[in-house]
Structures are given as C-alpha cells and as structure tokens.
Chain length 186, copies 2
C-alpha cells in the first residue's frame, strides 16, 4: 500500500540525473557520455551520482525501464494477464518508444538500447505469465518469457522496415492468431 515514501531529495536528484542523461543523449553518442558530463549537466556532484546508480549502464537501464513503463501505461498490464489485447498494446508502446528515442539519440546507441528493451520485456512477460500461475516458479515460464521478449522485440525491428506501409497494430495482429491459437484460458 504505502511504501516508505522516498525522500523528495532523492526523487529530485534522480530526475535531474535522468533528464540530463536524456538531454546529453541528443548531443553525443552513448559511448562518449561520461559520468562527469552528466554530473555537470545535472548540476550535482559526481559523487552523488554513485549514491543513486551503480554506473552509467545502471543509469541507462533505469532510464529505459522507467520511460518504457510510462509508455506502457501500467494499468494496461499490471492487472491483466497475457492476451492478444495486452500484447498489442505492448507492441505499440515499444514501437512508439523506439521512434521517439531514435529521434533523440545518435547512432551507436541502438544496440545498447535494444538489449535493454528486450530485457525489460522479458521481465514484464514473466510477471504476466506468472499471474495465472501464482504459486509455481516454473522454469518453463521463464523460457517462454525469453522467447516472447525476443520475438516481440524482433517484430518491432521488422516493423520499422515497413513502417510506411502498415501500422503497428495491424502488423502485430497479423501474427497473433498464429501465436495464441488456444483459448485465453490455460
């Protein structure tokens, strides 16, 4: 219910760091962004960065997951289980996300982003697969999440090449009947 209320200074500083990172991402490639840069842009001390993040990859991961989660509009998947409607909305979210990011970022960045998006998808799918099976810690569910995450992410890459011919919704729904042939029950 009420988690212990994170200190407002923490919220503010984390936001400053994340915003600065996204701002810098528009000017430099990822490999050229240093923690010193970020601290200067965010007007915080470099040591403070390490108070909030392990390193720059940790920051990247958290920025991606946070922005992605916002795009996914939590209510859509937190309360439901995995079905056609949810997959469609997730697919639309990540294609939107990638497009908004590719406007904002330089080249050399995409691979890192791609890996992180897929990892986030894997986490999300696993949680949703777990919904109807709350008790069992099935290895099979983990593997399924891996496959789905790779599959959906790959689909988004493929869709980009045809983005002027077809909408994300149409695109993913061409495949859904083949992916989820069974009833929505178990």
């Amino acid at each position: 219910m009420n988690q212990p209320k994170t200190d407002p200074r923490i919220q503010r500083t984390r936001k400053l760091i994340m915003d600065s990172f996204m701002e810098l991402s528009g000017k430099k490639e990822f490999k050229d962004i240093t923690i010193t840069d970020i601290a200067a842009e965010a007007m915080i001390n470099r040591a403070t960065f390490y108070y909030h993040f392990e390193d720059i990859y940790d920051l990247l991961e958290k920025v991606l997951s946070e922005v992605l989660l916002v795009n996914l509009d939590c209510s859509n998947y937190q309360h439901k289980e995995l079905n056609e409607e949810v997959i469609t909305s997730i697919f639309v979210a990540i294609t939107n996300f990638q497009q908004s990011l590719s406007n904002r970022c330089h080249r050399g960045y995409e691979d890192t982003i791609a890996r992180n998006i897929r990892e986030q998808l894997e986490i999300i799918f696993y949680k949703m697969l777990l919904k109807p099976h709350p008790t069992e810690e099935d290895e099979g569910l983990k593997i399924t999440a891996v496959i789905l995450s790779w599959g959906i992410y790959g689909a988004s890459v493929e869709w980009k090449r045809k983005s002027n011919e077809i909408t994300p919704e149409e695109f993913i729904q061409l495949a859904l009947p083949h992916l989820l042939p069974r009833d929505n029950g178990v």
Copy 2:
C-alpha cells in the same frame, strides 16, 4: 576576486524557488501566492524556503533585483559613472523589464513591483554617484539618488502611456539635456 564559492545546492535551490515564484506569478496575484505554494512548486520543503529568504517580500525583492540586474547587463554601469549614455541604458532596461513582467503577472502586483524597482534604482544610482566621490559619504548624494530613482521610475510610467508614439530611447533623451546641463566632469 574569488568569493568563497557558494555551495551548488544553494544556487540550485535558490534558482528553483525564484523560478517557481515567477511561474506562479503568471497564474495568481501576488497576494494569493503563499510560501506553501512556492515550496510545492519548487519541490522543496517549506522550511528550506526560510533557510534562503526572510519571507515572501524578501523573495520578491531579490527576484526583482536579480532580474533587473541581468537586464541592466552589469558591465554597463559597474565600471562607468553616471552620464547620459548610462541613464539611457538604464531607462531602456527598466521599460523592457516592466513590459516583460506585465505580460507575465496579474493585476494587483504592480504597486509592489514598482516600489521595489524604485528602491533598486536608488541603490544603483547611489553607487554610481559614489564613483567619482569614493571617499565622502555625502548625504547629498543619497538624496540625489532618491530623486533620480523616483524621477526615472516616474518617467517609465509616463512613457507607458505614449509607448506607441515614441521609443524609450527617444523619450528619455528629450529630457536628458535638461537634467544634466553641466559638463560630464564634477
């Protein structure tokens, strides 16, 4: 030369507070702006406000002087003494300042702003009058500063009524020959 380098947290927080105040000024009248409002908007604790400012009038004063100083482009008056060119640039600066502020602020605000602008002008004029007379703490110079500040401020009020007929530069320069009839020396 190098003053003791104010803590970056102080700079950041003061900026947050001042920006929030200007932001709120665009939405509410001055009398309706509370310190609680400002703290919320600035995402700082209310107690922190009192760490930086006496009260809301202290804040107003410092916002005005700071913005006004920026408009005056310090180099213009810090190194020179009072002459026609300087008075003209000051006059232009405060008319610009007032116009940009009247766009931003609601009614009921102007009197407070006016009083503060005049007080700032008085300080500035006194400093400049002191330049050629660095030693003497003349009461006469203080009174002169009072008169000039009221005069220049009143001129800016008067100019507003004719702002579509004449530029600030032209307006003030109509009066300058009568104000400063003597040579620019003592």
